[in-house]
Symmetry: C2
Subunit: 401 residues, 2 copies
């Protein structure tokens, strides 16, 4: 690696530095490391490895590897020992993004078409799987770098991290599927901590500290900081999703409303709405996104109706069952949300002041993160890397990207 | 584990046994082990873990764990030390099935609706991710069971196995995407060895032998047997896809033609066709099932499937009625290729004798596998487990499921 050009990340701990410079340098180092991680077999370059690099090489924030590197360096670790693990975190992040985009039917990621819109669903799912699959070998390659004991602890943390991510994702998908709104802010925080908090904040910090050999009680103090930071980050993400600058945000504005995501904002709006408004909003949110919905064709209905008739004649279906099935068939074309309906939801959000509410909650979590990090100041020595950790607190709630 | 009821798998090596009994016993042991592997957190049971068990609890062949167990036992290993790794292989297999079904837009898996047709695309992608994610912790739990050195070798083999799987998948998806037909049997074998050969045959055998402490040169001899077995298996799978019994095969008959899969059969047919026929076939095959068309029905089918489930639970619909309804539902899928066009392709396959050709090639690979296993007889002691390995050779090319 060419370390000469990366003054901040590789600097001796001597003072404050600019977070944006640090992020950029980490991005560059990690992009190089990811290229080293990918196998070189030319038979699979064009069909797979090249596609695996598409998201990582689009200009992201690079927050996860930077947090991992900064934490490790701030507690006395070396860049060389943490870089590979930081790159693996970025691989996980991008794998989750690819599959999230498929699951949400999103169109834009980092200002360009999502992978499945560009290369098709099948290739995108497989590229995501490939990124998940190719994280294991580099983590095993940690052994000569950081020793067997630490390598196993890193693997354990990764196992926990990925488990949390899929659990959080499952929870959110289930809420949408079942049309659930009996949720409060604590439910939101639980979901968000698992869905993005672990892999984006807690594990990067824990892994950086673990690799530097920090003792467990202090790792847990840092994890508390990361947890609050994570919630603040996600609330800000939800805010940007509604009122961000499309060019800077890089994703579709309002996508969360189209998808019916249970954000803090939406939950606050539903609590604040009148019963009538709430019922109308629930009806709208139960409708699918246009791309997902589709009417059952007449031929299909006719075909299925005939099958249902035969099942009754043959004694496979009761009269009551037939009634229920026919009703389901008539209602089975899920209605689509319209532009006007999504504008209505947006208006309710404005009327309820839900964005301001979310901003206040994000600020509270950010302040908690700041306080927790300050508490770590008892043993965290002054350094450029500690300054970076401090700067992330302001960054996550002020960012526009 | 209740070992009393599993006479064959846990038997002392004393003689021949019935492969089907052995497979069933392995399936049961592995299903129990998978239940032990899944976390117990009740918050995520209904939304995630229950769904992760859906495919594993449908009646599959259970060939992979059986191969892993039989190999390990045949070279002196214990059931207790290999069972967890065998269960992890089954988790990988089912994760790949879920994502393959999404990628191929398939309707049926093991005689029932595919996971994404039943629960929607988003949930299916996440459940597959969850199964991939939850393989890591049990492999780390191998350490107290088989020691650190062997555990790391198992992890290295798993890393290699998953890499091969996504590479093979990428190759096949690329061929279809680019409409490539400049492929010969050797290309097919390369693709198949990676796509299914490693995770279905080579790694199960290598892992079983590794855990039993077999020396490397002998592991490689067994890997050679597994490699030939894998190719024979996949060719037979391609044959069943075209002329299997729908009730036994459990997947859609002709699905490979609809998807334009580059099977040995299709490549032989294209080589044998006249230039005019070939051009027409290429035009038909270029009409891939458009992702959009497949997805249009998803919400509808998911909704109706849930209604059908409820009718069964409430006693309004018999099991046979459910099967017929699900089949009818499947036929209502919109597709761009027409039935007549796919029938034309099928006719070309018959005219060229491509199925017989494929059967001959499969037999050649099966014979090679048998010869390689016989060569291992120099050091492989006579046992029920060795008999099972021998019996798999006939099984893979004679099976109907």
């Amino acid at each position: 690696m060419n370390r000469g050009s990366h003054v901040a990340v590789d600097a001796e701990p001597t003072g404050a530095t600019d977070l944006l410079v640090y992020l950029r340098e980490c991005r560059e180092l990690v992009a190089e490391e990811i290229k080293r991680i990918l196998p070189e077999d030319p038979r699979f370059h064009d069909v797979l490895y090249r596609l695996m690099l598409e998201y990582p090489l689009r200009e992201g924030k690079g927050l996860r590897p930077a947090l991992c590197v900064a934490t490790s360096r701030a507690v006395g670790g070396q860049l060389e020992t943490v870089l590979r693990t930081a790159a693996v975190l970025e691989l996980y992040h991008n794998a989750f993004l690819i599959h999230d985009d498929v699951e949400d039917e999103s169109w834009l990621r980092r200002g360009e078409l999502t992978l499945h819109r560009e290369h098709g669903l099948a290739i995108a799912v497989n590229v995501g799987d490939a990124m998940l699959a190719l994280t294991l070998q580099p983590l095993l390659d940690n052994v000569p770098l950081i020793g067997l004991g630490l390598s196993l602890r890193v693997l354990m943390e990764i196992a926990h991290m990925t488990r949390c991510s899929v659990e959080g994702q499952a929870l959110e998908l289930d809420w949408v599927r079942r049309g659930r709104f009996d949720l409060d802010d604590a439910d939101y925080v639980t979901m968000v901590e698992r869905k993005t908090g672990w892999y984006s904040f807690i594990s990067p910090v824990v892994l950086g500290a673990t690799i530097a050999g920090l003792k467990q009680s202090r790792i847990e103090e840092l994890a508390g900081f990361a947890r609050s930071l994570a919630v603040a980050f996600q609330i800000q993400d939800d805010i940007l999703n509604l009122e961000g600058d499309p060019l800077q945000y890089g994703k579709e504005i309002g996508g969360d409303l189209w998808e019916g995501k249970r954000t803090l904002i939406l939950l606050h709006m539903m609590r604040s709405a009148s019963p009538t408004q709430r019922r109308r909003a629930e009806r709208i949110l139960a409708k699918a996104r246009p791309a997902l919905a589709g009417r059952v064709g007449d031929a299909t209905v006719g075909h299925l109706s005939r099958v249902i008739d035969r099942l009754c004649t043959d004694g496979d279906l009761t009269a009551r069952g037939r009634q229920r099935l026919n009703r389901a068939l008539r209602c089975s074309a899920p209605a689509e949300k319209t532009d006007a309906e999504v504008r209505y939801l947006r208006q309710l959000v404005d009327d309820a002041g839900s964005l301001d509410y979310a901003r206040r909650v994000a600020l509270r979590f950010a302040e908690d993160a700041r306080r927790r990090l300050a508490d770590c100041g008892r043993w965290l020595v002054t350094s450029a890397h500690r300054d970076v950790l401090e700067a992330t607190v302001g960054f996550v709630i002020e960012r526009v990207q």
